[in-house]
Symmetry: D2
C-alpha cells in the first residue's frame, strides 16, 4: 500500500537522519540545555528576526498546543478557535484536561475572522453575568488550517490587531507550517513572529522524526515555560535530538524547499482529479487535497492507496483527503497520477 492519508507516514527527511546518525555518539546534557539545541534556537530566532524570542522544543503538536494554552491562561479563561480547530475536535479534550474551556466559533473554511473574535469578547464583556462566563483570553488558529486553507497576511494582521486591542493573545498552530510557508510566501516567519504572541514551527509533519519548535515572542508568556513542559511530560530527556533535527531541516532553507516540492506533488494530484471532472471538496494550495469522489472510485483507489475518508457527501459520494509530505516519493505520486488518469 502507498500512503497518502497523512504527512507522517514515513520517517524523516534523509538530511535529518544523517544528522542524527552523525551526532549519535556526542555526549550532551539533557532536557534541551545542550549546544545542539542552542544552535537550532539561534537559527530560529535569526529566521524570525526576533532575537528575544524564547524557543522551546517539544515532541508533538498536542503537547505544543496544551502547553502554550495552559501557560497563557488563568484558570477561568478560555481559548477561542474555529469549530474545526484541532484542539476542539482531535485532541481528546487535552485543553480541557488542563482545566480550560475551548470556545469554538463557527467556520466554513477552517478560519476565523477578527470580527468573530471581537464579537465573542464583546458578548462576554457586555453580559451582566460576565463572571459566570468563561473569559476569552487567547485565540488559537492553525496555519495551514485543518482543511488545508491558508490565512492571508491581512487576515492575520486583523486578528493580531483585534487580539492586542482587546487584551487577548494570538497563538498559531503551525503543525504544517512548512507547507504554508512554501505555498504563500507573504506569510513568513518574521511576519508570524511579529503578529503572534506564540506560534509553533511543525517538525513532525515537515520532515523530522518528531518535534515542534514553540516560538514565544510575548515576554509575559516566556517566563517559566520549562516548568510547564516538565509538569506535562513534555520535556524530552535527550533533548538534543530536537536541536539536531531542526538544525538539519533549517540548513539551506531545506524546511521550505522540501515543503515546496510536497506542495507541487499535491497540486499535481489535485489537478489530475480536476482534469477528470471530480469536484473539489475545498480548494487548497499546499500539501493537502480534498476531493469529492464517487464511492466506487474511492473503493478502487483504496485497493492500492491509503487515503483519508473525510466524510459522506451523499449516498453515492464521499469527500476524501490525500496528503503529501516532505518524504513523499516521486514514483508514488507518478503511480497515483497514472491511476487517476485511468479512472
Amino acid at each position: 500500500m502507498i500512503h497518502f492519508e497523512c504527512d507522517y507516514a514515513c520517517g524523516a527527511h534523509p538530511a535529518v537522519m544523517k544528522a542524527l546518525v552523525e551526532t549519535n555518539s556526542e555526549q550532551h546534557c539533557g532536557y534541551s540545555e545542550d549546544e545542539r539545541c542552542d544552535i537550532a534556537r539561534q537559527m530560529i530566532r535569526d529566521m524570525c528576526h526576533c532575537p528575544d524570542a524564547a524557543v522551546h522544543f517539544v515532541v508533538g503538536g498536542t503537547q505544543a498546543n496544551l502547553l502554550v494554552i495552559e501557560a497563557g491562561l488563568r484558570s477561568f479563561e478560555g481559548v477561542l478557535c474555529a469549530d474545526t480547530g484541532h484542539i476542539n475536535v482531535h485532541e481528546t479534550g487535552a485543553v480541557e484536561a488542563t482545566g480550560h474551556k475551548v470556545l469554538p466559533l463557527p467556520s466554513v473554511d477552517g478560519k476565523i475572522r477578527a470580527d468573530q473574535v471581537r464579537q465573542a469578547v464583546m458578548l462576554h464583556r457586555e453580559d451582566a453575568s460576565f463572571e459566570h462566563i468563561v473569559r476569552p483570553a487567547m485565540v488559537y488558529v492553525s496555519h495551514p488550517t485543518e482543511i488545508g486553507t491558508l490565512y492571508t497576511k491581512d487576515e492575520l494582521t486583523a486578528l493580531s490587531d483585534t487580539c492586542h486591542e482587546l487584551g487577548l493573545r494570538l497563538f498559531v498552530d503551525g503543525a504544517r507550517l512548512g507547507y504554508g510557508l512554501a505555498a504563500d510566501e507573504s506569510v513568513d516567519l518574521p511576519f508570524l513572529a511579529k503578529v503572534c504572541d506564540a506560534f509553533y514551527i511543525g517538525g513532525t509533519k515537515c520532515g523530522l522524526l518528531f518535534g515542534e519548535a514553540i516560538v514565544i515572542t510575548e515576554p509575559s508568556l516566556q517566563d517559566c515555560f520549562r516548568y510547564h513542559m516538565k509538569q506535562r511530560g513534555a520535556m524530552l530527556a535527550k533533548g538534543r535530538l530536537l536541536g539536531v533535527q531542526f538544525e538539519a531541516m533549517f540548513r539551506d532553507n531545506l524546511y521550505v524547499e522540501a515543503s515546496r516540492k510536497a506542495n507541487r506533488q499535491a497540486q499535481q494530484i489535485k489537478q489530475a482529479f480536476v482534469d477528470k471532472g471530480y469536484p473539489l471538496f475545498c480548494d487548497t494550495i499546499a500539501n493537502q487535497v480534498f476531493i469529492v469522489l464517487p464511492n466506487d472510485v474511492v473503493a478502487a483507489l483504496q485497493q492500492k492507496y491509503v487515503i483519508t475518508y473525510w466524510g459522506k457527501v451523499d449516498d453515492a459520494h464521499a469527500a476524501v483527503r490525500l496528503v503529501t509530505s516532505v518524504c513523499t516519493r516521486d514514483e508514488d505520486v507518478e503511480a497515483l497520477l497514472k491511476d487517476i488518469t485511468a479512472l
Copy 2:
C-alpha cells in the same frame, strides 16, 4: 568533557540507530497502530510470559508515570510512594497536575515496604473522617530506585500481596529496568508481569533515543488507555519509531546484555573509589554509583567529567553520583579509572 552525570547523555545504541535508518523510508500508519509496533508489542508479551498484557509505547518516563497513575485512580484517590520517589520530587508535580495527591512514605534506601503500605491504608480506613482524607489506591515503586537500590523478589511479592489484599494497584517505574534486570536476575520480566498491575520498561535510559514501554497486566487498567495517551499529549504521531527501537533493543537479549556491560563499568568505578578509601553514600549493584568525596576532589573531577552533585554531607564533603549507560564508552571509563587512581 566526559559525561557520567546521567544515563541519557548519548544518543542511541548503534543497533537502534541502524534499525531507524533501515526502516526510515517505510510507510506506516500513525500513532503506534503499525506492524513495527505490533512486532515489538508481541516480543514484550512473549518476554513477559503474559499473552494478555496491553503494551503501549510513550516517549518519556514522566508521561508513563502520569498516564498509569491518572488512568488508575478515581478523582479522590492518591498514590503511595517513597518520599524519594521520582513522582514526588522530580516531575514538577505532574501527578498533582492530573488532580491526584502523591502520598509519600518515609524511606532511607529509596524503597518502601509492604507493612508501610498496610499501615497507611489502615490509618485511612480506621479514621472516622475517612471521607475527608485522600484514599490510597495505588503503590508506585521504582526498580531500580532513584538511588540505585533494587527490590528483592520477596519485597516485591510482599508489596504485591499486600496491595491486592487491600484492593490497591501496584505500579513499577522501570526507567532503568535494564540495569535492574542485568544486576539481579531473580526479578525478571515474567516476575514483574505477575506481581504488578502495570510497569514500564525504560528505553530512554537503556539504549533508545527515547521511549518507554508500558505493560499493563490488570485488565481493568487496560481499557481505553489510548484515550488517556492522546489526551495527555503522549501519543507519538510517527509511533513506529517506538516499535522499531524496542524491537532492535530486544533482539538477542541486547536490552539486558548491554545493560550488564554498563553495570560492570559502574562497578569498576565504584571499586576504584572504594579502593582509594572514599566511603559509599549508598551501595548499589547496577549502573549508578553514589560516593562521598572531599569537596576538592569533586572540584578536581569536575575539570574533566560531568558528574551529579547529589548533596552536601558536611562542610568538607559532598555526595556525588556517577552513572554509566548502554552507550558509555570503555575508553571514557578507563580514563576515569586512571584519574581516580591518581587522586
Copy 3:
C-alpha cells in the same frame, strides 16, 4: 425596587425559616450525617418510590452539576448538553475545571432530543480517530430548561432509552424542578427516578435559603460520592441545615404547592403582556416569562422593577425575562399587572 429578575431574590419560605429557628439549638454531628438529614433523605426516597437511591445535599447548583458530572465520567469522557445548557454557558467553565469537555448540541428551545444524542455517539464511534475525540458518556438536561421549557414524559423516556442503550448516563438538572413538577404533573419524581441515573431537586430557587438534593439511582454512581463532595468543597459543615430545610419544604407537598402558586403568578404576568399585544420570546408554562418589548417599555418597567435583559431582538426591541418564585408576594404581582395594563 421590586425584583422579578430571578428566583433567588428573597430569603426562604416562612416554613423553612420557622424550621431553622426551631432546630437552631439542637446539637448534631456535622457533614449531613445527622438525623435531620436522614429524615429528609428518607422523605425523598419515599417520594421517588426509590428506596435504594442515594441522596446527597449540597449548597448550590453548580456544585451539584460539577460533582455528578466529574464523578460519573472517566478523564477522557465528556458530557452532551444543549448549547444553552447552564453548564455550557453560565458556570465559568466549572465542568472543564474538573478536566472534562462539555459537548454542546444545537437547540432552539433549550431541549435536546434522543436522536441528537444517538447521532453524536455514532459520529464518535464510527470515526477511525475515535481515540482522538472526547467520548460522549453522559447527557445533561435541565428540567425546566434555562429558557423555561419543559421536557415531556415521552421526550425524557426517549432520551433515557437512548442513553442506556448506548451506555451513557442521563443526568437531570432540576434547579427549578418544583416549578416543573407543578406545571406538568406527568413528569413527577418517581418518573424522574426511573428514567435518570441522577438528578437533583432544586432548593435554592424553590423556597430554601440554599440547598440542592442530589438523587442518584444508578448504583455505580453512588459509590464514594461523599469523597467527591469533600474534595470539591461541597460538604457543608453544619449539614443539618440542608436536612431541616428540605424536610420543611417537603412536608404536606409544600414544595410543589408553593411552586404552583408561583407558576400561576408568572402566567398572569405573561397573559397581561400578551393581552397588551406584546409577543412572547418563547412560550412557557412554569415560573419564567420571556417577552419581547419595545426598548422604551423596558426602560419604563425598569424604573420600578428589576427584570432580566435577555438579549437584543432588533434596534427597537429587546427580549426580557421575568421570574416569580415561591417567595413572590401577591401585592408585587398585582402592582406589576396594573402597570402592564397601564402601559
Copy 4:
C-alpha cells in the same frame, strides 16, 4: 448526648438567627452583590484598617482554602504548610484537585517557622534541576492551628518578612479566628491584614450557620477573584445570607466577645481535667482542649458526651479533644465539669 466534639454542632448564635429572620423578606440581587454584603464588607475593611482590601464571602473553609491557593499559584507552583495542615490532611486532596502540590513541612506544634520556609525555598532555588521540582510560591498557616496552638505576633511577622523577601505569598486560614483573636489580643485583624496577603475570618465555627470571609490585601490576588469563585461552585446564589450573618456577628464586637466566652468554657474544662491529674496532650488557650485519658475514662465520658478520639497514646490511654463554641451552653459545661470532678 451533649456535643463537645467540634465547633459546628449547633446552629447559629441567636443574634445571627434573628438577623436572618428579620431580613428574610427583603429582596436583593444575587451572588453577594447586594447592600447587605456591602455593609459587611465595609465593616470588615474598617475592622482591618484596610480600606483597599477585597472581601469575599464563601460558604465553607475548604472553598476558602482552595480558592485562595489556586487563584494565587501558577500551574507549576505549590503551597508550603505544616504536615498537620488542614489542606494536607483533611480536605480529600482539594488543593491537588486544582492541580497544585501541597508541600508539607514537619511540625510538632501545628506551626511552621520562617526558617523552614526559607530552607525549603533555598533547596528549590539551589537545585540544578529546579525546573523539575514544584516551586514553592505560597505559605499556608492556620491560626489557631489544627491542634489549637496560636502563632505569636513575632512568629507571623517573621513568616511574613521571609515570604515577602523571597517572593512568596502568606495565607492564613482563620477557620477558628474568633477564638484566636479572643485568646491572644496581640494578633488582631489589623495586624493580620498587614502581615498576610490573604486570610479568612471563620464564620461557620464562630457563630454563623455557615460562612467564611476571605480578606485579600495583596492587589495582584484581588483581580478576578469572583470568576474563580463561580468556577469552583463557591458563589452562593442568595449571597445576602453571608452579609447578613457577618454583619450580625460583627456588631458590638460580638464575634470576639462570644468567642471569649467559649475560650473560658474550654479553659474551665481543661483545668478540671488537670485538677484530676490527667496530662495535657498539648496545651492550648483557646476553645480546644487536648487531654490524655485512660481508655475507661474515655468510655465513661462517651456515655453522655460526644468527644473526638484524637489518637492512641499507649495501650491504656488515648488522646481526646473537647471543643466549645460560640453556641456552647453553660449548663452543658457545668454538667461536664461535675462529671469530670466525679471521675
